[in-house]
Amino acid sequence: MRQYDRASEHGLSRRAIFAGAAAGALAFAADPAAAQRCAGPPPPHAKGPLVWLDLDQQELDDAYDQSVYAFNQGTIAERRRANSELALKVLGPPQRVAYGPTEIEKLDIYRSKRANAPIAIFIHGGSWRNGRASDSTYLAEPFVKAGAHYVIPDFINVLTAGGDLFPMVEQVRRAVAWVYKNAASFGGDPNAIYLTGHSSGGHLGGCIVTTDWAAQGLPLDILKGALLGSGMYDLKAVRLSKRSQYVKFTDAMEEELSAQRHLDRLHTPLILIHGTLETPEFQRQTRDFYAAVKAAGKPVELRVGQGYNHFETQETLANPYGLMGRAAFEQMKLASA
C-alpha cells in the first residue's frame, strides 16, 4: 500500500475534493488520476545491500506487493464484483457443499447441464489473506456454458490460520479429494478433473499438483491438467520479503510448500502463465518453475501475456478467447462457443 500512501502525500485526494467542488456529479471521474487511483512515479531510491538476486530489501518487498505494480488493483476488484453479480444472475446460486469439518471448508459448484461432465476447480488468490469463493463467480460462466462443472472452494486464510500456510494447503487438498470422490453426486466425471489457480492460489495449486496422492490412496493423476497463473513456486524469496510479517515461515513450510522442490511428485501436465507487467519476482517465479519442470522432463507449457499485469492476467480466464481462458479450454478440450 506504499504507493497509495505516497499518492495521497502528493495531493491526489485534495485534487479529487477540488474537482468535486468544481464539477459536481462528475467529480470523481473528472479527476484523471483518481479515476483509476493511479500512483505517481516512484521516489528516488538509494540501492541497499542485495537480499535476493539483484534486489535489495525495498525492491524485494515491492516485488511481492502487487499494489506497487498494478495501479488498477482497486478498479479491477470493483469490476470483478460487478461481473460476479451479473454472472450469478445468469447462472443462479451454486450448490454449496461441505468438504471438511470446519465452517469455512465448503465449495461452490456451478453445474453444467452436460452429463458426466469434466470439472474445473478454481483456487482463488489474494496474497493468502483475502478472497472468497463468491468473488470468483464471474469465472464460472464460460466453463458451465461450454459443458464443464465449475467448482470454487472456500478455505482458511493465512491470518485466521495464525500465519501457517499448511492448513490452507491441507484444506485445498481435501477439497480436491472430495471432488474426486463425490463427482458423480453432481454429474461430474472423476476422471476429468482439472485445476486452475491464480496468484497465491497459483502457489496453492503448485502444492496440490505436487501432493503425494498415493499416500491417501488416490490416483497419482487425480488431476488431468492444471493451469497455474501468476503464482509462486519456491518460497525462499517470499520468506525474505515483507510477506514474512504475516506468514510465519518455517524451514519445513518453505521446503514442503515449494512446488519446485518436489517435481518428482508431479504427475499433472501444466500450463504456466504470467503477464509482462507483473512484478519482476512474479515473472521470474513462473519462468524458473517452467524451466525446472521442463528440465525434469514433465509436460509443461509457458504462455506469456503481453501487456497484462497481475490482476488483468486473471481477468483473461473469464474469456474463452483470453490468455488464460483459451489455455484452460484447450487443456480441458472444451469447444469455444
Binding site: A30, P32, Y69, T75, T276, G307, N319, P320
Partner: protein, 313 residues
Amino acid sequence: MAMTDSVLDAARRSAAPALPKKGPLVWLDLDQAELDAAYDQSKYAPNQAQVQERRLFASKRTRAALGEPLRFAYGASEIEGLDVYRTEQANAPVSVFIHGGAWRNGRAADFAYLAEIFVHAGAHSVILDFNSIDAAGGNLMTMARQVRSAVAWVYQNAARFGGDPNRLYVCGHSSGGHLAGTVVSADWRKDFDLPRDVVKGALLCSGMYELKPVRLSARSNYVKFTDEIEEELSALRHLDRIACPLIVGYGTCETPEFQRQARDFAAALTAAGKPHQLLVGEAYNHFEMLETLANPYGLLGRAVLAQMGLPIG
C-alpha cells in the same frame, strides 16, 4: 535494477497533470483545459499503451487461429478495403466493426481479436479500413462517407462471402462509435437508394454523438470542423433517421465528456421513443470497454450477440 524500473515505468505510465486554476467555462461546467482533457483519452486511461499492446498481441493470435481474412475493396482508393473473417454457416448474419483511434489511428488488421466471438457464434465479422482524419485533410465527412459506403457495399455484396444482407449489424468504438452513429443516422434512401433499415442493430460504444463540444476542444487542431460537418455528423440531431435498435455503452472510468455523450444520447433516444439499451461498464476505462466486446461473456460481447440473436458461449 533496469528491469524493475522499466516494468514500473510501463505499469505506471500515467498522466497526473498539475492542478490548474479554473478558467472561464467553455462547455457546461468545464473550462478549456478541462474540456481538452475530456477529449483526450490519455488523460484518463493511464494504461492506454498497455491495452493497445495486448490488442495487437491478441489480434495476431486471432489471425493465427482463424487464418488471414478475405479482403475486398469497397471503394476506389487504396485504403477503402475491408477484412472478412468468415463463419462456416451459410447465409449467416454479418457484424461490421468500425474502429476508433481519435479518428487518427488504427487499422482493421489490428482489431482482428474482435472477430473470434462472431465467427464461433455463427456470424461473419467484417472489419473496415478507412482514411484517418489526417489523410482526409481534416475532413470528417470523407471518413463518414467511406464507412457509410462500406456498409452499403456489405449490404449489396454479402452474398459473395456467404452473408445475409438482411441481418447486417454494426459495432463502433470511440471515434468509431461516432462514425457508427453517422451510419445509423444516414439518409440511406436519399444518399444510397437503400432501405432505411439496412442496418438491423448497432452497438455504439464510448462514442460521440454531438460534435459541438468536440469542436470546442483541442480536437479542432486536427479536425477541420465546419457548421455542415457539425450538423450532418452529429447523430443526436438526426434521431428521425434511426431505424434500428441501438446499444449505447460507456465505462465509469471514461472521461466526463465521453460518459456524458453516451448518457445524453441515450436520453435523447428515450425521448424520441427509439428502442435502445444503455450499458454502463462499472470500473472500465475507455480502452478496457472494447476488450469486453472480444468476450462472449463480457459486457459488450454478451449484449451484441444477444442483439444479433446469436448463442452466447
